[in-house]
Symmetry: C2
Subunit: 352 residues, 2 copies
């Protein structure tokens, strides 16, 4: 097998030992606090990792898009939550096809998305679970009031769907208030909140403090990245994916160019207080990846006493690992520092 | 064939009529000014488009990475410039394999990259052309002085490579000064600057003002995007790729969520004066895509009198189309407003 130092760059390299520890730690945390863990596959997009998450105790998985769920169902996964509003006839038919194969649940925050799920359940002749998404203050998707949530819950029942409960992202203190206010209203309408699903890696270790949650969705925790380290939820030593790159030019004493640009690392930033530039050079933490072109990473070495040489290989911890994973058809996996294989990122680019 | 309005979203849709006009316009410009056009395939990554560029008069193509060149050679393209320093034995062997199939030229700015090309030429038993890259002030790759350029040129000759000339990116007024200073020095050393290759879409219509250029490399001009429109090099009506998306949630009167996030549109920004947000909503230019999550585009409608409805389809002009193209396995192509097919972005993700 190829040695790590012989891999062609740029290449994302995944440390399976760290992955295993990250998966176990989160599962243990959820077990300890009586939370169901429903990992989000958006970060890894690899069925084998989803299988491992379930083997360790996850109750099922979460996908954002139908295309991801299709890949995961093909990979043998069952009990899939689509935590995303699906709209339209084409989506309904694909959801129906999935529901014939595996247990499906979908979160909605509007009547059109609800109608899509109802249409799918009818077309499939199968039960599809429904969660109503509410907004805990993030101002993305999610209804803003218990009234709206309840109206959707009752509409779900009227449409013959299995109403399962509520979902939010990211969960926060406000989530508990919403759930506390919602529970008696739903109960009065004859609807049970069997599931209250929260999520988000940055605040994962505080999930148990949010009263009422039954389930937790996390994605980034499998690999971690510069953002989750900055959020204090992981250490650098827990980060399981690094992009290996090569210094292909050293045009000035204070500048190095690596063969990893925005098509390899993405242009995602972290908050200024979390660090400068487009990723952390693990071996040269004082150097700054100050600029990315598509295939060039421009490194400012002026603040770094040690400086990489032309031809040297460097490791970059991505700012945001989920989008990096999505840029690559394959990741190299290692165990004990030895290359074990090259795995397809099977659900990469499945954005529909 | 599927109607455009029935395509599942999110989806990049390419207008072939506009592509044809963009390709012709640039070729005409170069022809008029006696410049060889060597289009960069980084933007489209599709062999059929590269074939069309050559059919219209391009002298060859430009690729950034070997993986792109391999796909293009598989697609029948010949005369390929790798405008990027290649470093290491693995790259040398791949370059050698390419050189056995098609005419190759490589740009270098350092001795290690030069040695890689020399190794490839020896391994292939074929001639490989060499350009020395110089820096016109962009501070990325490229040597900073005529002395360094000349040393590399002489080293290329000594290594048995075919020295072809100079390359820079992006070309600018400073490029002409460098070339003027370099030409007599190279001539005195018995080296001819047969090729002086400039590049960059934003300043493309000024390429003829840079004395000494023989060749021009441009990529973005095939599709154009919000950045090149802001640079004044194209109009909105010339932009040939738009991402079609669906409004999947309208959680508040002033907020819409589309099913296109950073995994569809990328996180690339444009300069503040070029426009706010992560792409231009062509049908709602006063709305702002203020935030992207991986699969969510969060649109601020507060400044827009007209507002899209739940379930409505919208078109997004990307900020930077090259990275958007790289996120998608396929683009839908249309002509006269009719869907003609769905083309693989064959060189997508070929980052090594």
């Amino acid at each position: 097998m190829t040695r790590i130092e012989d891999l062609e760059t740029p290449v994302p390299v995944v440390d399976l030992d760290r992955v295993e520890r990250n998966l176990r730690r989160m599962q243990d945390y959820c077990d300890r606090h009586g939370l169901q863990l429903r990992p989000h596959i958006k970060t890894h997009k690899i069925p084998a990792f989803a299988q491992r998450q379930v083997a360790l105790g996850a109750c099922g998985i979460t996908c954002q898009k139908l295309g991801e769920a299709e890949v995961m169902a093909d990979g043998g996964l069952d009990d899939i939550l689509i935590s995303y509003p699906l709209v339209g006839e084409a989506k309904a038919l694909r959801l129906a096809a999935l529901a014939r194969r595996v247990r499906m649940r979908v979160a909605v925050d509007n009547s059109l998305a609800l109608a899509t799920v109802a249409r799918a359940a009818a077309a499939a002749g199968r039960e599809i679970g429904l969660l109503v998404e509410f907004d805990s203050g993030y101002r993305r998707t999610g209804v803003g009031s218990v009234d709206e949530a309840l109206a959707l819950g009752m509409a779900a029942r009227d449409a013959g769907l299995r109403f399962d409960g509520l979902m939010t992202y990211p969960s926060a203190a406000a989530s508990a208030e919403f759930v506390a206010a919602a529970r008696p209203r739903f109960a009065a309408a004859g609807l049970t909140l069997a599931v209250v699903s929260g999520g988000g890696t940055p605040s994962a270790w505080h999930a148990h403090e949010i009263a009422g949650l039954t389930e937790y969705r996390v994605g980034t925790y499998i690999y971690h990245d510069r953002a989750t380290v900055a959020a204090g939820v992981a250490t650098l030593e827990e980060c399981a994916l690094a992009v290996h790159a090569t210094v292909v030019s050293r045009p000035a004493a204070d500048r190095a160019i690596i063969d990893a640009g925005s098509k390899t690392l993405s242009s995602d930033r972290v908050a200024p207080e979390a660090g400068a530039g487009y990723g952390l050079l693990l071996d040269y933490p004082d150097a700054v990846i100050e600029r990315l072109n598509e295939e060039h990473g421009v490194i400012d070495l002026s603040g770094s006493a040690r400086r990489p040489e032309l031809g040297e290989r460097v490791r970059v911890l991505p700012n945001h690992v989920c989008v990096v994973s999505n840029l690559h058809d394959r990741v190299v996996v290692t165990r004990g520092g030895v290359v074990e294989g090259c795995w397809p990122v099977a659900a990469r680019g499945r954005s529909t």
